[in-house]
């Protein structure tokens, strides 16, 4: 009796809460315990002035925010994400247009090819790029045998090489949401565009592109978050001269045991990535209106 009464009261106070809410309890508890908890802990650790975490204060934040070197690291990390997103958007959209024009059999083959790299470990894919981009690698072999350059191009340990390889490594994250959105574009709309006299290019940019925006946005979110945090690719292909936030976090946490500073950089990375992600989704909403 009393049970029904409480449920009734609950329903009146929160009218949209359906009777199924206990189903989210396990996930919710996991989330609070293993995500929110550690996050609070991280924040707490960041407000300590010394490595042994005995003195609380904002010294580590001051050290991070007051140092132009670290601002540059933040900027470089963001730019790496932006460039990777830009390249995957171009590659992804082109692949998407081809995908649209294919029949169902080729489409499923394409999907298989897109998912295939995800089955390989990111470490393997990263090391494969060393072989491709190296001085004696595939790209330089092609460039030099075509006589385009006398000396091998420097691609490893450069931002360009890193962006190229990250674009390949992260491309499935762009393609999967993008293709599912593009596949839902009504073919009648494309026919209508042709019938009304639009050229193929015009149809592509004025019809297909705007309709693909939700997919591009979703893909960009995933690629940005993943490429800015891609510690393995950044350190193996980028090398020691390109310093990104994940490397600084690793060094501070695991090499010099400066956990408060590592926490500061981690939170800064989190906030930066969240900021950019918010911006991307805001852009998405803007484009749709």
């Amino acid at each position: 009796m009393s049970l029904t009464a409480t449920q009734g009261e609950g329903a009146r106070r929160l009218p949209r809460l359906s009777g199924d809410w206990p189903l989210i309890v396990p996930m919710g508890l996991l989330f609070i315990g293993f995500f929110c908890g550690p996050l609070v802990l991280l924040l707490w650790v960041s407000f300590h002035n010394d490595q042994n975490m005995e003195v609380t204060g904002v010294a580590m934040w001051a050290r991070f925010l007051g140092d132009p070197f670290y601002w540059n690291v933040v900027l470089d990390t963001v730019m790496l994400g932006v460039k990777t997103v830009a390249l995957t958007v171009v590659l992804g959209f082109c692949t998407g247009v081809i995908y649209l024009s294919c029949g169902p059999r080729v489409r499923s083959l394409m999907l298989f090819a897109i998912v295939l790299p995800l089955l390989l470990s990111v470490v393997v894919r990263t090391f494969a790029w060393i072989v491709i981009l190296g001085n004696e690698g595939l790209v330089n072999w092609a460039v030099m045998s075509l006589g385009l350059s006398a000396a091998p191009l420097r691609l490893l340990q450069t931002e360009l090489g890193l962006v190229i390889s990250l674009a390949q490594i992260e491309l499935p994250l762009m393609l999967l949401p993008l293709l599912s959105v593009m596949a839902r574009i009504d073919p009648n709309i494309l026919d209508a565009s042709h019938a009304l006299g639009a050229s193929r290019w015009r149809t592509m940019f004025r019809v297909i592109l705007p309709l693909s925006v939700p997919g591009l946005i979703a893909g960009s979110l995933l690629v940005f978050a993943s490429s800015t945090a891609a510690f393995i690719s950044q350190s193996v292909i980028g090398g020691g001269r390109l310093i990104y936030m994940p490397l600084v976090i690793w060094q501070q946490a695991l090499v010099v045991y400066d956990w408060p500073f590592a926490a500061v950089v981690s939170i800064a990375l989190l906030v930066t990535v969240l900021g950019i992600l918010t911006l991307i989704s805001a852009l998405g909403r803007l484009a749709r209106t």
């Binding site: 490893l156 020691g240 390109l242 045991y257």
Partner: protein, 348 residues
């Protein structure tokens, strides 16, 4: 009858109970196993591979103890032990000198009673201490590709001159071999154990010419791919690359190769203390040390009963006394600053 009607509440309670039972069972499983076992941290890669295939069966045979390996780099072991505090995540550490000194400062080890180790008197006594048992030696020097240079490099300073500098691969202060090599480079240009300025200035000067500045884990791959042809590294890396058919030789710099030992430590509050002793004793036994020295593992043994291979840059363990050694209690406080400085100076 009502007992068999399943509603959501009962289902949740029942599945919760089942999960709890499963969790308890698995906990029980571990502790039951732990009575005849020891948990040892181990470096991933060659160490883990060789210890699984050589040390684990040897320990089983010698003491009937099962060893469970927890793969982690030195710094990760320290971080784990420090984070776990009262609940030791494993029984035995394996560490290089830098992290070993850090762990000692943090009070993570318990004293080792060497009388419980049958093989302790076979070890080079300079490296044995109250808290540490050496299990492998490491010798660091210059590695180069003999097909790319007419004459092998002979000293640290030479690495910064042509033809070597444009083929040089650099790595920073994150690893023991990197730190010790950079200290020796600093010394070659007028610095000292605690003054690495000359090395950093020289690196800055030649930076545009250097073939690659890379993370330590990427060095071997870059060498194998021909991206770099000269680097500083240990004999083990040289031997394993050579074993894979890479053109590589080890050169002892004119100021001497760098030597240090990898040590094992028993964690404070270890759960399987006796088994930890049995494990360490097995690791330093002549049979195991001899097996670890062979291809493809290429360890440098520390048991004086094991005759050294002639590919090593010394004929006996005593010869290592003349090699360059470093005091890590002096290096550790400076190292965070050096790591940060290296980042800044080489940042593109």
């Amino acid at each position: 009858m009502t007992a068999f009607t399943l509603n959501r509440r009962k289902f949740l309670a029942a599945s919760g109970g089942a999960a709890a039972t499963a969790a308890t069972a698995s906990l029980w499983g571990t502790s039951a196993l732990a009575s005849g076992s020891v948990i040892a941290a181990i470096y991933p890669g060659t160490w883990e591979e060789s210890f699984r295939s050589i040390v684990a069966p040897a320990l089983q045979e010698a003491a009937g103890v099962t060893v469970e390996f927890d793969p982690a780099y030195a710094v990760d072991q320290i971080a784990k032990a420090r984070a776990a505090r009262a609940l030791p995540p494993f029984d035995v550490f394996v560490l290089d000198p830098g992290p070993a000194a850090t762990g000692a400062e943090m009070g993570l080890y318990q004293p080792i009673d060497t009388s419980k180790l049958k093989n302790a008197d076979k070890l080079p006594q300079v490296f044995v201490s109250e808290m540490a048992i050496p299990v492998a030696a490491q010798v660091v020097g210059i590695a180069y590709n003999p097909t790319k240079f007419d004459t092998p490099p002979t000293g640290w300073a030479q690495l910064f001159e042509e033809p070597y500098v444009s083929r040089l691969g650099l790595t920073g202060f994150q690893t023991t071999f990197g730190t010790t090599s950079l200290i020796e480079i600093a010394k070659a240009f007028g610095g000292s154990l605690t003054d690495i300025d000359p090395a950093m200035e020289k690196i800055k000067e030649v930076l545009p010419k250097i073939a690659a500045v890379a993370q330590p884990s990427a060095m071997a791959g870059l060498f194998q791919q021909g991206e770099i042809d000269v680097m500083y590294t240990n004999t083990q890396t040289v031997a394993s690359l050579k074993g894979r058919g890479v053109d590589i030789e080890f050169a002892v710099p004119d100021t001497g190769a760098i030597a240090f030992v990898t040590t094992m430590h028993i964690i404070d509050g270890a759960e399987n203390l006796d088994n930890a002793y049995a494990y360490i004793d097995t690791v330093i036994s002549a049979g195991v040390q001899e097996a670890l020295m062979q291809e493809p593992y290429n360890f440098i043994p520390v048991n004086s009963d094991v005759p050294l291979l002639d590919t090593l840059p010394m004929t006996s363990l005593d010869a290592m006394n003349d090699f360059v050694r470093h005091d890590w209690t002096q290096i550790n406080p400076l190292r965070p600053g050096w790591i940060e400085r290296f980042n800044r100076e080489v940042a593109a």
